[in-house]
């Protein structure tokens, strides 16, 4: 049995490869992973688990999406606190960017907003209007103004999420299609907002973790 871990800031993705080759997929809050007593063959991610070989996240993303995307493709991973994209040309790595560590307009902020305003993720819907979220703090201010002017928290947060989708598309250099990896795959409001700008194909949350598996 071999364990592989993508330890995100908020959630950890674990793939266990059993001796018969069967793969088991788990998502857990990262803060609970240390207590599991597991040993990992390879890890990646912001959280520091020193009991495995640590892989570069961009490399893990590039390896994980092999065979899952077109020869010419832009793959974007949007997580709790950072965004990174890779462009392949003729199946070869051509370009990349990583917004390093600004969490102001990523998953953690959306989770905090949902908790703060007691809003369920499912209740967010794609809206035409978007807030500028280049600076997430200014984006938060827009939400507060909007709600104080009578807008529902759901709609105000949806505008913020639309802003993140637009920012993401711009950050990835406005491609015609994005292969999306990471937690935002499960945020319908985000995916629908992103589809206003480009085609979107969802890769799910385990791409980086799959990129750790060499066999």
């Amino acid at each position: 049995m071999k364990n592989y871990l993508d330890a995100g800031t908020t959630y950890s993705k674990i793939i266990t490869v059993h001796e018969n080759g069967k793969r088991e997929f788990k998502i857990l809050p990262s803060k609970t992973v240390r207590n599991l007593g597991l040993t990992f063959v390879k890890t990646c991610g912001h959280m520091d688990f020193k009991n495995g070989n640590c892989e570069n996240e961009i490399v893990a993303l590039a390896k994980g999406c092999r065979g899952k995307v077109d020869n010419d493709a832009v793959v974007l991973d949007l997580g709790s606190r950072d965004a990174k994209w890779i462009r392949f040309k003729n199946s070869k790595f051509a370009d990349m960017d990583w917004n390093t560590s600004c969490a102001s307009s990523t998953g953690a902020t959306v989770e905090m907003l949902l908790k703060f305003y007691d809003v369920k993720l499912d209740s967010l819907t794609c809206v035409d209007k978007k807030f500028p979220v280049t600076c997430g703090v200014f984006g938060l201010e827009k939400i507060m103004d909007d709600i104080s002017n009578g807008e529902s928290a759901q709609n105000a947060i949806s505008k913020f999420v639309h802003g993140i989708a637009y920012n993401t598309w711009t950050f990835a250099q406005k491609p015609e299609k994005i292969y999306l990896s990471g937690g935002f795959c499960e945020n319908k409001c985000f995916v629908d907002s992103l589809r206003k700008y480009c085609n979107v194909e969802l890769l799910g949350r385990f791409i980086l973790c799959e990129g750790l598996i060499d066999e």
């Binding site: 570069n56 490399v59 950072d82 890779i86 051509a94 370009d95 990349m96 960017d97 990583w98």
Partner: protein
């Protein structure tokens, strides 16, 4: 006598001052002295080093490079230091008529060693032994970074381009040479954040399908990972 300098001072000025057997101090380097807060927070770290080092080390004389061989920020820094009471000689070295060979840039030495060897030759050039050459697998384009440790991420088979190569060639103002890179080589185009050369770095990275990075002060883990990923995936 302590003489502070930055960039690539005119060799004639260096020669005339060298007769006094001074201690030369490269003010470009981050020695970790306290910030003087004279310049804005968001500003080129190299220029901030120059000002902070001068304030702390109080050199008897400063040879300030201000021409096309450095940048306008260097010129403004020289004016500020003069106004603060320092004894400043402004230097320009824009002669690009004679390019020397650049064996260090194309050698198989570790990249950091290459860059340190090149900058170490500015004031007191010494005859170098024959250095083993290598075919390049990667390229590094730019000025010597404030955070020299990023150079340790590169393999030895990394050739040096940009201003650092111009320095080895003895033509720090030669923008044609500065823009010249080996075709089809994966190259990291580096600029110090808030440096005017970021124009060139970004432009050339796009032109040559390389990686553009700018770093303010010291590299974050993510910037290191970005360089590492580029080197591994290309």
């Amino acid at each position: 006598m302590k003489i502070g300098f930055w960039g690539y001072p005119n060799p004639d000025i260096v020669k005339s001052l060298d007769e006094k057997n001074p201690q030369w101090i490269d003010l470009d380097i981050d020695f970790g002295y306290p910030e003087s807060n004279i310049l804005p927070d968001a500003y080129c770290k190299i220029i901030k080093n120059i000002i902070d080092n001068a304030i702390h080390l109080k050199p008897d004389l400063i040879v300030a490079t201000i021409g096309k061989d450095k940048c306008d920020s260097g010129w403004f820094a020289s004016c500020i230091l003069k106004d603060l009471g320092f004894n400043v000689i402004q230097s320009k070295f824009e002669d690009i008529s004679l390019r020397r060979p650049t064996p260090v840039s194309t050698s198989d030495l570790p990249l950091r060693k290459k860059v340190e060897l090149i900058t170490g030759q500015i004031i007191k050039p010494t005859k170098l032994p024959v250095i083993k050459q290598c075919h390049a697998k990667f390229g590094f384009w730019g000025v010597p970074p404030n955070d020299l440790s990023i150079l340790e991420l590169f393999p030895n088979e990394t050739h040096v381009f940009g201003w650092t190569k111009c320095v080895e060639a003895g033509v720090p103002a030669d923008v044609e040479l500065e823009m010249e890179v080996e075709k089809n080589l994966p190259i990291v185009f580096y600029s110090q954040a808030f440096c005017a050369k970021s124009q060139l770095a970004k432009y050339l990275a796009k032109k040559h399908d390389g990686l553009y990075i700018d770093i303010d002060d010291y590299a974050t883990n993510s910037v290191r990972a970005k360089i590492e990923a580029f080197l591994r995936l290309r």
